[in-house]
Structure formats: C-alpha cells, structure tokens
Symmetry: C2
Subunit: 265 residues, 2 copies
C-alpha cells in the first residue's frame, strides 16, 4: 500500500506522525525531516518555498499517496505555491478551523517568527469568523528549549510566562500552538494559562482532518502491517534522541538523504 | 585592493568583522552569512564540511586574498578538509592559542553542541600544553538567546549560570568563548564567573592573528577607502537588525546570493 508522506524542517513534525499513527494505525508513513536546512521559522518566504518544493518532490518520488506539510512555517509561507498530484494538507488550516469552531471570541496564537510574520493563522481564522479578536506572539526560544529537552523546567516556565503575558492580558479563551514542536510544551503551557483556556494543537488537528478526508478504501487498509520510514537530510544525533522521545519507541532507524540536489534538477 | 573574505553560518561572524575593522581599518571585507542553512552548530560534520566548501568557493569567486572561517563549528569540523589558494584561518586555533598562553592550568570551553562534540578545542589546547585541565560545555540556547536580543536579561543569566555551574565547580581560570555569537554575552558571562576568570574571545583572537600574519604590503594598504560587502543566503529581517547592532552602524546593505547552487557544480 502506498504510504502517506509527511515532512517538517526537523523533528517537530513527528508529533503529527504520532497523531496519525494513533488515528490510522494501519497506514504506512514516510517522514522527511529536513534537518540539514532547519530551522525554517527564522527564514524568508522565498527560501522556505524553495525548500518546501524540494521536500514535496522527494516524497512524491517515494510514491506517497498523500502529503502532509507538518511544518507550520512551510504551511504558512509556501502551501499556496505547491502543486501536487495527490491530496495535500498543511497544518495551519486545520488548526485555525478547530480554533474558530470552539473559541468564545478571543484567540491567541503562538508560533515561530516567520509563521507569525506571515499572518497566515490570522487570515485563516478571520476567513472563518470575522468576529474573532486575535493576539499573535512569536516565541523563538520554544524550539531550542524543546530540543534542549527542557520541557518541564522552571526556566522554560519563566520564558513561557513572558511570551504569554500579552495574550493573558488580552483575555484569550483559546491558544493555538502554531508550531509542531509546541505540543511537547503543552502541559507546561496549560499550567501557565490555567484550565479555562483551551489549547489547540495543530498536529492533532491535521491528523483528525487526514483521518476524515483520506480516501476510504485506503483508510480501511489492507491486512498488512504498516511500514514506516524516517528520512533526514542531516544525521545529527539530537534528531534520534528527540525522535525516540516523541514517538515513544527506541532506535527508530534513520535514513540519510540529500534533497537539496533534487532542488537543482 | 583585493578584499579579505569572511564567512559564518549567520550573523555571529560579524563580531570577527568588527574586530578586523578595528585592527585593519583600510582593508576591504567581503562577508558571507549562510543564513539559509544556519545553524551549523547542531549539524553533522559531513554536512558542515559540504556547506563550508561552498562558502569558501563563493568567496574565492569574489577574488578574496585571504579567507577567515569565522564560524567555530565550521572551523572545528571542516577546516582540515579545505584547500584554498590563499591564506586561510579558522577561529579555533587562535582562540586555543591565546588560552594556552595565558591560562594558569584550568580552561573551560563553551560552544555549540557540534563544536564541543568535535573535541577540536580540547585537541588544540592539549597540543600546545598537555598539562591543561579542560572542561567543555555545550550551550545550545546561547545563540537563540542572542538572536532574541536577550543579552542582558535575568532569564539569560539563569541559563548561563546553569551552563557554567560545572565549569565553576572545576575552578577554571580561563573561559574560551567558542562561538562567534558569544562575545555579545561577554559582559553577562564575566559578571557570572567573576573578575578572576579570563574570557578568551575567539573573534578577537583570530583578528589579532590575521592582522599579524597578513602579507605586509597589503596590510599597510593603499590610500583608498575600504569597501565592505555583506552577502547572505537568506534575506530574513532579523539578520539586518543584528548586523546593525554588532557593527554599530545602521542600514548596512545586504546582498542576497545562492551558494547552494555552487555546491552542485
């Protein structure tokens, strides 16, 4: 059975893979982490679009039957520039959709610098509900803090409190986690904002949409066992450590590839 | 007059440019910040070597008469793999040299994950003085903190205190700042370690070596005015903001280039 293709700039998109595996346990998944060129969140739209196109091309070469752009920055900056002969989802629209359906009127967004600067979440939210008040905050330190493994740490708490302060002052009722690394900070963020504010995890939101929309005959699956592959563009050890943690398993084999060459074809 | 070429993965190497300008005010400098592929400090040796080679090639195409690898990670992981028809310096050897000459016996090193993992500083220090005791500490959050502009901040202080704790416990007398971003944290780090511990700034150290070793006829310079150029591989706004701050000037014009294509020739 043809696999679902998923890519992110790094390891964060594995939160989408974990969510997809829970919902579609018999689907095979091919993952590409573009670790040689990460992070995308501080780069320009043109560069992110170029990287995104080569990643999608790499996945299509692996004969995927659907593509999930599991990177908020790439979804925000480059989804409109993509053409693919298979169904293709980004994480911004599903996250915005869930937030717009459940918010009581005031939505906060946390994401990388580039995702916030793109305005993609605000546009997607307002297209669904023009009555929403929106407060957006870039949190450039969250990804390095997660990658350092400081997800439950007093220093991370202080940084999060500083980033979230204007959102709490604006009395948001919903907080969109607009980066696939951020679900790993969800317990800490929920503690800071309190139980009344609903966290919307864009990784969970896109997995829900894929599970619902993926063509039925394949979703029901063959009796075969799902086969997963993890590709990375750089073989740094930190990816393995974080991948095991996110996927809850040990020693996931990584395959090293060069997608930048595809870009030059 | 032919310029000196300097490159770093991003904006940090401009601390080397600033040091070179102070020592060699009449030299023209061509700088390349490989912002499309930064950071190097969490990537593998093979990837860093590939990126480094394409950056040097780009500078040689600009007819530079010397190259400074102003990136500690590239210096640590890739300097041995480079061949260039002009003088070429990395930042590790000058930094290690200065530390070995001045230490009373116990040297601490702070740098990125990849630089520390390479062991390049320890090897360079022990090659000069095999009596040295060395404690190395990777500080993955320092670069994002500097890029966030939190150089003088209580949160940065707590993070630095945590990173430096094992070095202070080992009673170091010298601390090597093994990343070109770190000089921007020097005042804070000096406060934490106290006045008795000497900070060795590898950016200053390499500028001193270049000023001393660069062939004399050019070092004395023509009566012309130095002309500087700044190239980047990605045009994100944060580079400009940080560049102005490090160089102490406003609106340095940036030129956008694509060096990845050079890699494929």
């Amino acid at each position: 059975m043809r696999p679902i293709g998923v890519f992110d700039s790094g390891v964060g998109g594995l939160t989408v893979v974990a969510a997809l595996r829970r919902r579609l346990p018999r689907e095979s998944i091919v993952y590409l982490g573009d670790t040689a060129r990460l992070p995308y969140g501080t780069k320009s739209a043109a560069t992110v679009a170029r990287y995104t196109a080569s990643n999608v091309e790499f996945l299509l070469d692996r004969d995927v039957r659907a593509v999930v752009v599991a990177c908020n920055t790439a979804s925000a900056l480059a989804l409109d520039t993509l053409e693919a002969p298979v169904p293709l989802w980004g994480v911004v629209e599903p996250g915005a959709d869930l937030a717009a359906r459940t918010s009581r009127g005031r939505v906060g967004i946390v994401a990388t610098e580039s995702t916030i600067a793109s305005g993609a979440y605000s546009r997607a939210l307002l297209a669904r509900r023009d009555d929403l008040e929106i407060v957006a905050q870039s949190c450039p330190l969250f990804v390095p803090l997660v990658e350092e493994g400081w997800c439950d740490d007093p220093i991370t708490r202080q940084i999060a409190e500083r980033y979230l302060e204007p959102l709490l002052a604006a009395e948001i009722d919903t907080l969109v986690l607009g980066c696939t690394h951020y679900p790993l900070l969800a317990p800490l963020l929920q503690e800071i904002v309190g139980p009344e504010i609903r966290l919307v995890d864009s990784a969970e939101a896109v997995a829900e949409v894929v599970a619902r929309e993926l063509e039925p005959e394949a979703a029901s699956g063959s009796p075969g066992v799902a086969a997963h592959r993890l590709f990375v563009t750089d073989g740094a050890a930190r990816f393995e450590r974080l991948a095991d943690w996110i996927l809850g398993e040990r020693g996931t084999p990584l395959e090293l590839v060069d997608v930048a060459s595809a870009e030059r074809r």
